[in-house]
Symmetry: D4
């Protein structure tokens, strides 16, 4: 079967591209999905389509609704959810996505630098694997789909 893998979280680095490239190189039959990673579009989508707002709260509310149509549908349809926490920002939506996936029984892989270990302990506990690099995530996916360890392992 083809696998659906949702890549949640941080949108400021190239980690999604690195996972996709690694998976392609390994010949994995995976359809990757993700939130909209164009930060400006993501922030503006509500008012850009559905009408302007004076209050920041409602501007955000409108945009978050449109984004949730995409993210919650893709998480429901995913076989595996990878959640990335970067060095900066609060990234509460990444943690929210992890909780959402956990309650649905979707297996989670977390991806974050070691420095976040203590702050992310509840989410790492809900995950099946915790990685520090996108390449480790590729290795996990290759094993999950093909049953093979990385070269040299």
């Amino acid at each position: 079967m083809a696998w659906n893998v949702y890549l949640a979280g941080e949108i400021h680095s190239d980690w999604r591209d690195r996972i996709a490239a690694g998976a392609e190189q390994a010949g994995l039959d995976i359809e990757f999905t993700s939130p909209v990673t164009d930060h400006a579009a993501s922030d503006d989508v509500g008012v850009a389509i559905l009408g302007s707002e004076d209050q920041g709260f409602w501007k955000d509310h409108k945009g978050a609704g449109v984004n949730a149509i995409r993210t919650q549908t893709l998480i429901r349809n995913a076989d595996v959810v990878v959640v990335r926490f970067g060095e900066k920002y609060r990234q509460w939506n990444a943690a929210f996505d992890a909780g959402f996936a956990a309650a649905l029984g979707r297996p989670i892989v977390t991806l974050h630098p070691e420095e976040h270990t203590h702050a992310l302990k509840e989410i790492d506990r809900a995950a099946m694997a915790t990685a520090e690099t996108p390449e480790q995530v590729v290795d996990v996916l290759r094993y999950v789909l093909q049953g093979t360890l990385p070269d040299g392992a």
Copy 2:
């Protein structure tokens, strides 16, 4: 992935065609489904197939049963449910479909003129987005599938 979008509600204007045309123009990979929009067929289907009835209540009951096979199955299979309320009629079935979709966790987009805002507040609250024109719905779907804002936004 291809998305399934169910277009519920009002059947007297061309809003479904406008959404389908806009989605096609935008190159969106969407399969649209809908209730039977031939009003006479929808009203008569029960007695036309399963035998005539003297009482209006049972004629309606028979027809509503056959229609529900279609509508409830399509809502269960949908990724997104758009619910349209027009200017006329009570359209209780549109509101029923919205409640049905909400309890199943399907994301809802409502589509109605501004004048219904107060009467539809519970349903708009259960929706992820509220639009006034079919073109806005197309814009929402384009963003959800492709992550792009409308031109000029």
Copy 3:
């Protein structure tokens, strides 16, 4: 067991009181629940508690959210949902509640004047019983709990 019966819909007549009084007289072990039936409080609750809004849409949105905490929780906890449609108003929230209850598998009893038969056909089809008077609803509940028909039947 005690039964939980949620009384959804129209809030301008005394139908809830008549059902509760009839149930008490019949000695039925039922806990009735309902939405907030104080119309002004229901409309104002969002801004009264969470801060004022300039736009009617957001005032309604805030209020509908608070009301939904109550209504959706009570419907989830109900054994039976009675949905009343009165002569006036669009009552889309009543139809929404019916759809919500139907998708959750809660048995529904509809209560409305005969004139709404055609407009309510989808909802009546999803119901286990359709009554025209609160007293009929009491009779249904007495039979469901005690297995007895009304006197004289």
Copy 4:
């Protein structure tokens, strides 16, 4: 019915006490539950009971497992989940709990200072109400249980 309300999130201020006191004063029939709010106990519970660990990751992992027995069970049993984000710390577990509650269909009330509005937009969007003070949460709960607005509103 008695309501179960789970109070998730920040454990460094007295917001839980203020909500509980306000609810008691209002005579609300609510059982409040919460995570363990003794920070040191929460951090140490894994190794204190199940054996020491050299690696911080596994110490946290053990502790998070024991805490999850409590938190996930209480969220599953809750009618309403209040999620508080304070001024400090990353509070990813609060966001995780919100996602978990959302996927289970539990109604959420968020509680946070205005400054977090943009960072919390996805979670506020998944909530039925967003408050800035514990007193507003009490007012929401009073309305939900009793249908009454705050004095003076």
Copy 5:
């Protein structure tokens, strides 16, 4: 905990009384529920409460709806479902109730004379136990609640 045991099926013999008496004698903490066993009331309830019908089909339809409010609710709330098939009648509703209980994951005990073994094979296969006498059902329930075998076993 107290157990809820639903007694489905045949209503023409005293098997329910024998199970209830045996359970009481054994001191089992069980709340037994059942469909309405007054055959005439069960057949007439729809038209007696909700208005007369000319067609037998609709008379039956109305009555079956009211009965389903009771039976489906009680099956959903049951811990164990006992389904009795007697010597006579087609008893399709008993088989329907068994299928309904099976899909919900409720454990089933079937109770029928040996002569029905072949005709009931699908339903016996879905059951956790098949008994021929009400006393055996009591013995099963005693073991399930108390862990003790019948005297002399």
Copy 6:
């Protein structure tokens, strides 16, 4: 979308062929599934594959288990379940399948001669449509998929 329609019940007449032929003629995109309709094979499968049995009960039990792998899987995967009751036999498995489908929320169409109306009232009540001929079932499916009434209606 292609529809999956499961044809449950009576295996002694050609009703499945008539429905399939009618659907093909109407150009309906339906995959029909059914239980094994070779009566002897269905009865013998357990002992033929898994070893002989002295007791009829266990022979039936073994066979019913193997058949249930097929039938329960196909019902879970079906969009619509048609349940046919013929003139003869008790057909308890047909009624069981109907109950199983009902609890899963699958729309049901019953198919039986008028003489069974009273005995089948609970199952007809759980169905969305009740037909007397296979051709009516084809007409229902055509309407459900294509929205068109039979010629001449």
Copy 7:
């Protein structure tokens, strides 16, 4: 709230008594449930109640069915499931119960000697905590219910 804790697995040592005694001493509001721990009764219950069998397979099958009524119901109703693996026997039913609880989302605590660590790795991974002594399980439950660490920790 009172907690329901199911104690699955090994029945040859006094670990259940030690947990119950420890919980009582700690004043924990827990209702403990368990399978029938009388080994002979558990093995014989099927034939003792429902009639003798020549074949060991069917004797076991009958008994396992009756036991499953108890065990599966109690696991479904449990807040926490403790699964104990002892030194001897294969204890496949303990592992089965753990898988059953995991798929239902019930939090699991495993209890076994260190020597089984490798053989039980899949089950320990699905658990929220792994203990070696009943006293550790009591400590986990005390923390979960009361938020306090063991004395001296």
Copy 8:
């Protein structure tokens, strides 16, 4: 439809190959899936990808997490789960998988030598069929998909 069949359990003999070969010879439209059957890779995967561990418990924990991504996803996506218990080892993960599949309502076929009958009684009871040879499993699958008995039966 194509069927998905997950082959759980023992990884030291060629039973999976024999089932796959038999199914291919019979022309069955089945996609077989399985855990990773390379024992060394399965044991080492956690530390090989995610970093070494000093403690055997955590090495196993890491590896079991990665394996669970594969196994739990495949069981959720399976139509039928075959669970094989061999002559050696404790094979608790096979029993765990059976319990997991049972709680999800997936039909189970067990495959084991007769000597394990008593020890596996709970799991055989939860299964729809119990086989002793891979060829019997092929026969079961052929019947389930094609409705035909083995030659000579």
